[in-house]
Symmetry: C2
Subunit: 774 residues, 2 copies
Amino acid sequence: MIRPLARFATSALLSTVLCSASNPALAAGFDDVDPFIGTGGEGHTFPGAVAPFGMIQLSPDTDTTCEIRDCYDHAAGYRYDDPTIQGFSHTHFSGSGHSDLGDVLVMPVAGNEVALEPGDATKPGSGYRSRFDHIHEEAEPGYYSVRLTDARVLAEMTAGTRVGVHRYTFPNEEAAHLVLDLRSSLYNYPGKILWSSLRLHPDGTVTGARQTRGWAPDRHLYFAMRFSAPVKSHAFVNTEEDVAYRGFQGPGRDSDAVAQRQGRALVGRLDFGRLDAPLEVRVAVSTVDEAGAIRNLESEPGTFDAVRADTRGKWETALSAVEIEASDDMRTNLYTALYHSMIAPSVSGDADGQYRGPDNAVHRADGFTFRSTFSLWDTFRAQHPLLTLLQPDTVNRDIIRSLLASQEQSPFGILPIWQFHGQETWTMIGYHAVPVIADAYLKGVRGFDEDAALRAMVQSASYAPYGGLGDYMKLGYVPIDEEPEAASKTVEYAYDDWTIARMAEKMGRTRVADRFYDRSRNWRNSFDDKTGFVRARDSKGNFREPFDPTAINYGYDYTEGNAWQYSWFVPHDQDALFQAMGGDEAAVEKLDRMFEYDMTGIDYSHAEDIAGLIGQYIHGNEPSHHVAYLYNHAGAPWKTQERLAEIVDSQYAPTPEGLSGNDDLGQMSAWLFFTGLGFYPVTPGSLQYVIGRPFVERAVLNLPNGNRFTIRTEGLGAEKPYIGSVTLNGEPLERTYLRHGEIVQGGELVFTMQAEPNREWGTSTEARPYSMSE
Amino acid sequence: MIRPLARFATSALLSTVLCSASNPALAAGFDDVDPFIGTGGEGHTFPGAVAPFGMIQLSPDTDTTCEIRDCYDHAAGYRYDDPTIQGFSHTHFSGSGHSDLGDVLVMPVAGNEVALEPGDATKPGSGYRSRFDHIHEEAEPGYYSVRLTDARVLAEMTAGTRVGVHRYTFPNEEAAHLVLDLRSSLYNYPGKILWSSLRLHPDGTVTGARQTRGWAPDRHLYFAMRFSAPVKSHAFVNTEEDVAYRGFQGPGRDSDAVAQRQGRALVGRLDFGRLDAPLEVRVAVSTVDEAGAIRNLESEPGTFDAVRADTRGKWETALSAVEIEASDDMRTNLYTALYHSMIAPSVSGDADGQYRGPDNAVHRADGFTFRSTFSLWDTFRAQHPLLTLLQPDTVNRDIIRSLLASQEQSPFGILPIWQFHGQETWTMIGYHAVPVIADAYLKGVRGFDEDAALRAMVQSASYAPYGGLGDYMKLGYVPIDEEPEAASKTVEYAYDDWTIARMAEKMGRTRVADRFYDRSRNWRNSFDDKTGFVRARDSKGNFREPFDPTAINYGYDYTEGNAWQYSWFVPHDQDALFQAMGGDEAAVEKLDRMFEYDMTGIDYSHAEDIAGLIGQYIHGNEPSHHVAYLYNHAGAPWKTQERLAEIVDSQYAPTPEGLSGNDDLGQMSAWLFFTGLGFYPVTPGSLQYVIGRPFVERAVLNLPNGNRFTIRTEGLGAEKPYIGSVTLNGEPLERTYLRHGEIVQGGELVFTMQAEPNREWGTSTEARPYSMSE
């Protein structure tokens, strides 16, 4: 392992001081993580504290007062280039495009005057927000700290699985207060807050609830907080205006020091007086009820330092799944990518197993932990395959059981599309829970009801009212005159169908397999031989005119993309696609044209999520993610190798702007993690990883079965971008893919790099990755 | 038992046809009930179907489109003089002043066109509402039917404890539809509906939820419906406007036939096609969740006729607590009063014991049924004492356990004030759960945690932020400059305190008893010797000026009343009050002045709930309810007898306008029931019933211990309004009160009436009812 001495020394010192129990061997990957990566630009990650897949994401929000359209920049609450922090809230998405959350915002205030409004970021002192600078800011997995300039408070955050802990060091001789703002929320459209409540219990516990009409239409969030010092006085204020009917007022109606306040615009002030020690605030949330939040709080006892040390241990263990030798930057990129790949799907169920399901009712998970935050259109590609590789029988099995429970409880009877806190948002397209389950099943993950799973998958693929599926089942494609984004839907459905067929075949369910193998050929109905593009057709069968393969518009023929990106999406049958395009040569030529497209005069700035452009290849969004690997399918692997070097170089960096697009709950990161090691799951369900080229000197995957799979690169360097040869366990490997089993059984994969393209290796027909029609 | 043959025959025929299992002996009281009494004027009762203390009150709403102020007339949804019915909803208060509920409105529509708006009552056909007339309308306990003229549908309703059943007979050859309007609600202020949802399950069950900000600030109501015929098609429509953010749309977004719809303005249409048989609709509600509603639905299976017969049986049993011989009108009045006394407190918990408590969280009742709808300021006076007499160990024990559970779960740690569906509304004054519990305990009701009960009572009486209690504990009275309605609060607190002292004394808790006996004398601090009235004082001790004993204003010195009504409220120490007033003679003179007050030029029409005036005696509201009995305490019982005849004659009638004021969940009715039998619980907690005079020839109380207590009147008639003599079990009774134990052990009370006042009977000091300071 190569690491500069100075850096190691610093990290070791930090570890010794703060977490003396930490294991230096395990700490390696941990210290390489930089949670600030992606917090600038369009990465939409958050720098705050989170445990692996934790329910709590305790992180600073620099601005939640944005208006509708501007909210996009603050999807994760924090923007690296903002000058102030508004407060610290407990729930965040890691890299989502659309957003929500930012629940239960807490801000420390010192002194005698406590504003209950956040104030203007450009006017210091105009509210409870405070300036900060990056010199006095630190982050590592599970820990975040910042010195708040105006508040004169050192704010530190850590998080266990279901508990967040704040530690505030107030200036000496100054009264300590917390502002608790339930009005603050991410993507805070007017009317979003349907209802909320704040309650101070006789034992000093503060609980509350908030119900929001945000990305999820009716989300319930409950919380419980306890403090290391007694609440000496408090105010609970409802700033709501224009209430037609307030009802009769309860005890203390003229006072703000009420035991409970309800309404749609609540803000609280908690006063602690002068403190001799830092104030620690333990907070838990629940989707079930306040009692659940209290039980969650009690399920993970301990001080700030204890919770921090525990979570550090969890991250060290999680990150020790891989040992990496690479350049500093690449190591930071890859460990941060692994970190970002292990935030979602987040735990959403309570410590006692109760959770709120898609029917907005409370259920109990029997034998698993309910997880949510399913950004499936993104994550089915590489993030779930990564979890299936690294955590198959723990997190991954929970995910499958959570998906199946959600289907059972769905008012529509289908698997999640884009779900968080158990609630469906209907965002993006496809039924991509299907490949997640099928890929895991085919790779040997068990411990769930397989028949129920297949039934849920078939049902999700057959629910006529969803996304034009009724027409798709009749016509073999989604007609654009009936359903927007029809071209994208048709090809994605066809792939999802193929994964159902694969799983059904493995289960011996031949009739289901045959039916869905048939459906998996439907992509062909949307492919226009004349133009060579996947296109939208109307219900009469005509391709829609006029046709501009570069046009990107919401609700148009494609989903966040155009014909250039979407015409490559037949991951289960690239061979047939290439034949349709005119053969391998034509395909290679078309791929080249995509990457080298002259973008003069083309502007996609109106479209969120379209970022990271290399010609018409758009790495910042998912439809392009497998495309660079497709040269392999056309017998030109050296071109894949060439493109990957360009993509990795231009799209990732160990800086806040280091993600070229939304991390999308770990998909951008999982892409980099696989690619960094030299292979990528182009076709989940195929049991193959397509070989790209490695970006590490050496990496060892410590697999959960105890086996180790080593990747070694001879001749790594910018001047040698091409694979010369590959060996697997000492034997030459001529094919351009690895089998899942080959990794799982352990072994050594050695790449020898060279300066010039190797136009022989991996080019034979036998060398090519899976295609169904072969 | 006197009953006209013709009437009996009709009733018997009805019974035979519809409910052949019914027992004719038991049916007597049942057939005398007229649910239309109080549905006109200001009675605010509803004519629809309800089981004894049932969770479902399925009743027609004639108009729910009222604006804020006009809502008062439609507090129970139905007004006898309205020309149209808008629909049938499942929850109603019986006689409340303020209001809410009217949940899940259902309306049948025949034919091909189905309006989704109720339309204008003055324009037939402008919406789904329909005209009706009283000729084609019937009601009996647990059953209601009406022929809807415009809809051409016979609508029948019945209700079990947790299930309502509709039966609609549509015209032949016409398609049958139901409109299901979740926008409709009683007291429907703008913004009341916070959220709602409608869902059609694959098995044909329709469920839904509604969360309202009404009289209770955040009430959750779930429901489940099943139909005797399949739903052939449906529409779920959200008519909400001005939604800033609708989120992503789910399956079937362009269609109304979605499996689920959410929003703030939902209306549904259910289509059944042409039916060969009447459509039966079974509906249950729950405050817990939809699954709870489904379980409630399944807990009481059976057809319309089966549920109706079962509920008829329950009412017959409940009403058989008394056998009455009296004039037709009086029998109707008294049995209807008994019926109206047994509607609330309503069952609020689910069949499985779960319920939503005052913390808006779900709890489970262990060993009792959770009941709510506590209109305690009204009902502590006579309705709870009536239940303590007739149902001490069943309903009554549940009530006490529900009150104690509510205290435990209250965010404020106090007993309910005015609670429904488990939610506190903070309406009216006092802590009158306290006398309810104390009176029952002192009368021997057990089966609850007595120590917890006393603790809950003391805590409720000591919670400083509630209703000026902090100042009351410091000053001995509630100061008007700090707290509105201070005069009323002071005297009511003092009485409540006395009941705590009584219970504590009985439990041997001397220190608590002493403390609260002391507090019970606080009424004296609000009594002005100079004017002879109970008055409001400021915190410096001065009575507030100017003083007008006839003024009635909201939030003024008194609660829905003035000095005339409130100056009599020392039920635990009338003797001391009369002494303060200048002695018995002065008291009698002042009582006479009250009843005979010249009301020329005095207008109380601005004040809701002020109705039924006899001078300054206002029978339509509760502060006056014990006043006519107080002549007894001053040694002039013949004046009580005289006044009672006047009150009964003028304030009650067997007609829709037959209640002079809001029935207040049975208090107006319980007053009549007791008074009709000849005695009244002037001072709950004293174990006494003060004798008035009887209005029945004969009545037998069939007590739950198997004993029978008979009241017999010799010489009943308008021409003999005065008691000549009384015997109890054959012995002359000289005192003007009965002891609780004397009734409970069974026996016979015989009144002999005479034309002239008997100025001897009951006038001695020993004959007078309880006064603490004697």
